[in-house]
């Protein structure tokens, strides 16, 4: 959708007698249908041997079906978040960034919080920091693929998907649909890229400086300076690259 918007292919569609809600829901439904059919096909292919061939104890059709349902819910969530990113971003590159931010930002924020708290010497025993890191993982739907979770996670994923879809419909309705990567709420894509790279660079540099250079002896003033300098440098570098690209 972001690619269509950037290439101005969305314009003709928007000039047709359909509401923006209808456009976005139809596009979403097409993706969900593909996802559902793919999962159902997988279930059939896996289910036939389970039904008719000798299998290890405990591997029954309901167990396989539950696994597929959970995977389907995880992929649905990932898709819904990516779809939301597509409605917000003004071009493909911004959409990818925004999608990555939606999928991984909560975990990255948890990681950043751990890094900052370590820098400031909070919780020297790292008992609570480890807990933040541990639970932060569960904020990213992709992590769920690697683990075994119950029905709660499926319900949570479905709720997240619905919330993402509702947000996408709203964003698509209010979005200005202008070229050059305008976001509806975040300024433009270059600023978002700068912020994303700046944040990542700040965390990485800060962590590296303390773990490798200063030997893990934190000083909060130095830590703050490292964060600011790294962030500003990455932000400016991104803007410079973006301007060069624009010219």
């Amino acid at each position: 959708m972001a690619g269509e918007r950037y290439g101005r292919k969305l314009e003709h569609l928007l000039a047709l007698p359909v509401t923006r809600g209808e456009i976005v829901l139809t596009k979403f439904a097409a993706g969900v249908l593909t996802l559902t059919l793919g999962t159902a096909l997988g279930l059939v292919i896996t289910g036939i041997p389970v039904l008719f061939l000798p299998t290890p104890p405990g591997l029954t059709l309901p167990v396989v079906a539950q696994t597929y349902l959970q995977w389907w819910s995880v992929f649905l969530t990932v898709y819904a978040l990516a779809f939301l990113a597509g409605t917000m971003a003004g071009n493909f590159r911004s959409a990818v960034l925004c999608c990555a931010a939606l999928e991984f930002a909560p975990f990255c924020l948890a990681l950043a919080a751990v890094a900052v708290l370590m820098t400031f010497g909070v919780d020297p025993g790292r008992r609570y920091l480890w807990q933040i890191f541990h639970y932060g993982q569960f904020l990213t739907p992709v992590v769920l693929v690697q683990r075994s979770f119950g029905w709660e996670s499926t319900a949570l994923m479905l709720l997240t998907s619905l919330a993402a879809l509702a947000a996408a419909v709203w964003v698509f309705h209010v979005a200005p649909f202008e070229k050059n990567g305008e976001f509806f709420a975040f300024g433009n894509s270059h600023a978002l890229q700068g912020t994303a790279f700046g944040a990542v660079a700040a965390v990485v540099v800060n962590w590296t400086v303390y773990r490798r250079v200063l030997g893990g002896k934190p000083n909060w003033l130095v830590g703050l300076a490292v964060l600011i300098v790294a962030f500003a440098a990455a932000f400016q570098a991104t803007r410079f690259v973006a301007r060069k690209g624009a010219n």
Partner: protein, 252 residues
């Protein structure tokens, strides 16, 4: 005179760049309104605002006296639109493209579509991506007029087309306007097209409609004077113009 489309105080900026600065526009019903201006003057932006594709930062658009606001769909059933870049639905066959129109528009006229397709020689079985740019424009035009819209928006539809295709496009637009009283807003750089098709011209400059006149009035106000000198021309050629001639533009 009843206004089909009216814009009041439209303002629009992209980042720090103001494109429209309090633009007012009045398009009479049944007229073919030519929108001219330099590259980047804001013609496409204005059309996109009038179509409700993007929204102005300030100002309002009225269609038949009713503000369109941010409403969707309803009034779009009565408009036809040909974008300057007709790169839509690349993978569709021409026939599927028109089938799409049939689904969207309740007033879709299959007979008109068939007649125009045959007249313009559009290959129904071929995909849009396989067509030349001119053919894609023609397909977009057939799509736009086959439901007999009350308002037709054309964004530089003849730019880059060969003279024959240009003539076909203009002919189609003129026919539609003459037979059904369609109100047309026609954005173009090509002055010959304006002269041939439009009855009213709006010049977009500085984010506003700088000049808006009937084509006949513009023609009546324009004079060409040919001056021949014996020997070297004077340093300031303006001295050769008879006194009392009102001048707004002078070219040498």
């Amino acid at each position: 005179m009843a206004m089909a489309i009216e814009a009041r105080g439209l303002q629009k900026r992209f980042g720090q760049c103001w494109v429209l600065r309090g633009l007012d526009l009045k398009v009479p019903r049944g007229s073919i309104y030519g929108l001219v201006g330099r590259n980047g003057a804001g013609k496409t932006t204005l059309l996109r605002i009038l179509l409700g594709i993007i929204w102005p930062d300030d100002g309002e658009v009225f269609v038949d006296g009713v503000s369109i606001g941010k409403s969707d769909a309803e009034w779009k059933g009565s408009i036809g639109y040909v974008p300057d870049v007709p790169d839509v639905y690349y993978n569709l066959r021409v026939s599927d493209f028109f089938a799409l129109g049939k689904r969207f528009y309740s007033k879709w006229d299959e007979e008109t579509m068939t007649r125009l397709t045959g007249l313009l020689g559009l290959p129904l079985k071929r995909r849009l991506r396989e067509l030349a740019r001119g053919q894609r424009t023609l397909a977009a035009l057939v799509f736009a007029v086959s439901h007999h819209p009350s308002y037709l928006f054309l964004d530089e539809p003849t730019a880059g087309l060969d003279p024959l295709v240009r003539r076909e496009v203009l002919k189609l637009v003129l026919e539609e306007a003459a037979e059904r009283g369609t109100t047309v807003i026609y954005s173009t750089h090509i002055l010959a097209d304006l002269e041939r098709a439009c009855d009213r011209i709006g010049l977009l400059a500085g984010g506003r409609i700088a000049v808006e006149k009937a084509l006949d009035d513009i023609k009546a106000g324009a004079r060409r004077i040919q001056v021949v000198w014996e020997g070297e021309p004077p340093e300031d050629p303006r001295t050769a113009i008879p006194a009392g001639e009102p001048l707004s533009c002078l070219w040498f």
